[in-house]
Symmetry: C2
Subunit: 210 residues, 2 copies
DNA sequence: GCTATACAATTGTCCGACAATATTCAGGTT
DNA sequence: AACCTGAATATTGTCGGACAATTGTATAGC
């Protein structure tokens, strides 16, 4: 049951792919009822689309979907960065954060799509965990950003920008300096630039309808 | 099936109340599988707590839960207010928004808990709809604010403040004037004051743990 | 080539069953 | 009387099968 959730979130499935209940029952060795419960939850989290009598599809994001998600994520990540900066001194926060940052930065030389995607997701997860706002951790746009990264993982377009890693470093520097305002600013700037990069990509890379 | 979701969200159930699957099947005349699917979805939305082998409880918020929710909601509602201000001129937005505002303000004289709660929820829903960011509409903190209002509906404490309606009017004025920055400011101020009012309430009004 | 019917695949929902676990309560002990 | 122990009970987690409703597809007819 937990395996099913992980399986769907881990990126084993491609955006747009149809998920057939019977296949999932066979793949994970659980009953159809269990599969359906998991699908309902994933739909509520916005990771899959559930169309009546037609089934479940891994959500495929249009340009406007991504725009909307990024606008919301900007607000939430900004909050998360500020909170993390305030609490970076507590417990083992500094060590964990530095480790997560390091995992992202090591891809500066060899941007391997899939692993970088994972590292970025972990970076934000760590940031939010350190911030300590439990609601923030459960917020759907955080999950949907992962979806967004998945959709672009083949093409390292967005992350390949030379500025990309510099922006991460700027965020991290403020967080590590316990500078909440600065962390918010750095995060906001990073995400606005990400949005700008997105706007320059051709329509062909996005799902239709939006 | 849809009736079940509405029933749980409409406030027929009290925060902390335990939801027993067998009772729900009887009440709504659907099978246990259907009930469980609905519960899974509600749990993903943060409206109920799902404890293994112990069942589903209407989520009861502790002081720290509310603090976290409000912090996230502040960011999202601020975004929503700004977007609404930008689009207040489109379609029938102005009329719908004015109607929603009116429904809230009519409780200035007789603050009847339950109906005011509903009106406030509709006010925010309208705001977000006008803003046009689809992700924002699905964001969980919006739903959880409804939960928060439910928990305080008996005691009109938070909403009873004399300043309460003035703050709503300030938000609405900026939105109606297409002043996005002003709308963001007014919303942020309203929610920070709400948080301050919350801090002054005694522990006894909150759920334990946090 | 296009339309319409028939067929196949899949989902939505129901029912009954059983193991796993949590809660309750009776009984005995200190 | 208060406290532990363990059986009885209630509820959840999962299974399997079943059937109607709906969608997608292929075949037959014009």
């Amino acid at each position: 049951m937990a395996a099913l959730n992980d399986g769907i979130q881990s990126g084993r499935y491609v955006p747009g792919q149809r998920l057939i209940e019977a296949d999932l029952t066979a793949e994970y060795g659980v009953s159809r009822g269990t599969v359906r419960e998991a699908l309902k939850r994933l739909a509520a989290e916005g990771l899959i689309d559930l169309v009546a009598h037609r089934g479940a599809y891994v959500r495929s994001l249009s340009r406007s979907d991504m725009h909307d998600i990024l606008a919301v994520f900007e607000r939430l990540a900004t909050l998360g960065a500020g909170l993390a900066a305030e609490r970076i001194g507590e417990a083992d926060h500094r060590a964990r954060f530095e480790a997560a940052l390091e995992r992202v930065l090591q891809f500066r030389t060899h941007p391997e799509g899939m692993a970088l995607m994972q590292a970025r997701t972990e970076f934000y997860d760590t940031l939010v965990q350190i911030g300590g706002n439990l609601e923030l951790s459960h917020s759907t746009p955080l999950l949907q950003m992962h979806l967004m990264r998945m959709q672009f993982r083949q093409m390292t377009l967005v992350a390949s920008s030379r500025h990309f890693f510099e922006e991460y470093e700027a965020i991290a520097a403020s967080v590590l300096a316990s500078d909440a305002r600065g962390a918010e600013r750095a995060m906001r700037r990073h995400l606005r630039r990400t949005r700008a990069r997105l706007d320059r990509l051709p329509d062909s890379l996005f799902a239709a309808g939006g």
